[in-house]
Symmetry: C2
Subunit: 145 residues, 2 copies
DNA sequence: ATTATATTTGTCGCATGCGATTTAATCGCG
DNA sequence: CGCGATTAAATCGCATGCGACAAATATAAT
C-alpha cells in the first residue's frame, strides 16, 4: 500500500466526514422541524427570510448558495403552506419577490428555541463549535464569492 | 432583537456552513469524478470497497452511514457500469455481497490522484484540514455508533 | 415441526440538488 | 428605434437521501 493509495482511505478523507456530518445534522433537526412543518432546506430558507424579508429569488439564493432550479420548487411548497408569498416585481417583471406571510413571521418565535436544543444535543464545547464554524466559513469564502 | 432571535441568524449557525460546505465539496469533486464516470456518493462507495472488498450491503452501509433504501439503487447503477457485482450470499440468502470487478479495481489507480487535487484546490493549511477532520469525526462519533 | 420474531434487502413516495435548456423581460448599442 | 445580448426564473432529467412499508430468509421459542 503506497502513500498515494493511503489518501483514498475513508478515515483519511476530509470530504467524507463533512458529507456524513451534514446528513447527521439534518436528521438531528428533523424532529424539531417536524413540529413546525418545515424540512431542513425549507428551514434554512426561512432563516434567511426572517433576517431579511422581500427578497428576490436570486438574492435569496446568493445567501443560501442555491439556484432557482432548487429554490423555485421549494418556495412553491412554502407558499402552499401559506408561509410565504411569491409575486412578480413591478419594477422588473423578470424578478419574483418572496415575502413572509403573517404565519411565516409568527413561525420565527416557535423556531427560536431550536438552535439551542441542537447545540445541547451536539455535546461539543463552545470553543470547538466556534472553531468548526470559522473553518467552514473560511473554506466557503474561497469559492462562493 | 433579543438574544434568542440572534441564534437564528445564518452567520451564527453551525448547521448552515456545514450544509453549504458539503455541497461545495461535491461540486469541487465533480469534474474529477466525471473523468472516471462516478457521482460523488458512488465515489464514496468505491472508496469503501477499495479498502475492503466483498462486503454485505449492510456492512457497506455501516461504514458510509447509508441504508439500503439509498444504497440499493446506487449499487445497481455501479453494477450497470460494470464496476461491481451484486450476488446473494450462499450462507445467508438474505444478504447481498458486493464485489469489485476488474474494472472497478483498476479504477482505483485513476482515482488515486483526486484527493491531492482537491486538497490543493481547497487552499487550507494542513493543520486546518486536520483540525476540521478531527472535529467532524468527534461529532459523528457521538451519534453514529 | 410450527409459529412468532428478527434480520436483510428491496420498493415506494417525497423533497431536494444541480447541470442543461427554455421562456420571458430588460438592457445596450448602433 | 430595432435587435442581439444579458438576466431572472422556470422547467426538465437524473441521482441521491430517507421514512415507511413489503418481501424473503433465518432464528428462536414452544
Amino acid at each position: 500500500m503506497d502513500n498515494r493509495s493511503d489518501l483514498l482511505h475513508l478515515q483519511e478523507q476530509l470530504c467524507f466526514p463533512i458529507y456524513a456530518t451534514s446528513r447527521m445534522i439534518t436528521r438531528l433537526y428533523q424532529p424539531h422541524l417536524d413540529a413546525i412543518d418545515l424540512t431542513y432546506p425549507q428551514y434554512l430558507t426561512m432563516l434567511v427570510l426572517w433576517e431579511k424579508d422581500n427578497l428576490k429569488i436570486g438574492d435569496l439564493g446568493d445567501r443560501i448558495y442555491l439556484k432557482t432550479n432548487t429554490l423555485t420548487p421549494l418556495l412553491k411548497k412554502l407558499e402552499a403552506k401559506k408561509m410565504i408569498v411569491r409575486e412578480r416585481s413591478k419594477e422588473d417583471e423578470r424578478s419574483v419577490i418572496i415575502s413572509l406571510t403573517q404565519k411565516g413571521k409568527d413561525l420565527k418565535q416557535k423556531a427560536s428555541v431550536i438552535p439551542l436544543r441542537l447545540l445541547e444535543s451536539l455535546d461539543m464545547t463552545k470553543e470547538e463549535l466556534i472553531q468548526m464554524r470559522t473553518l467552514m466559513w473560511k473554506m466557503l469564502d474561497k469559492f462562493e464569492i
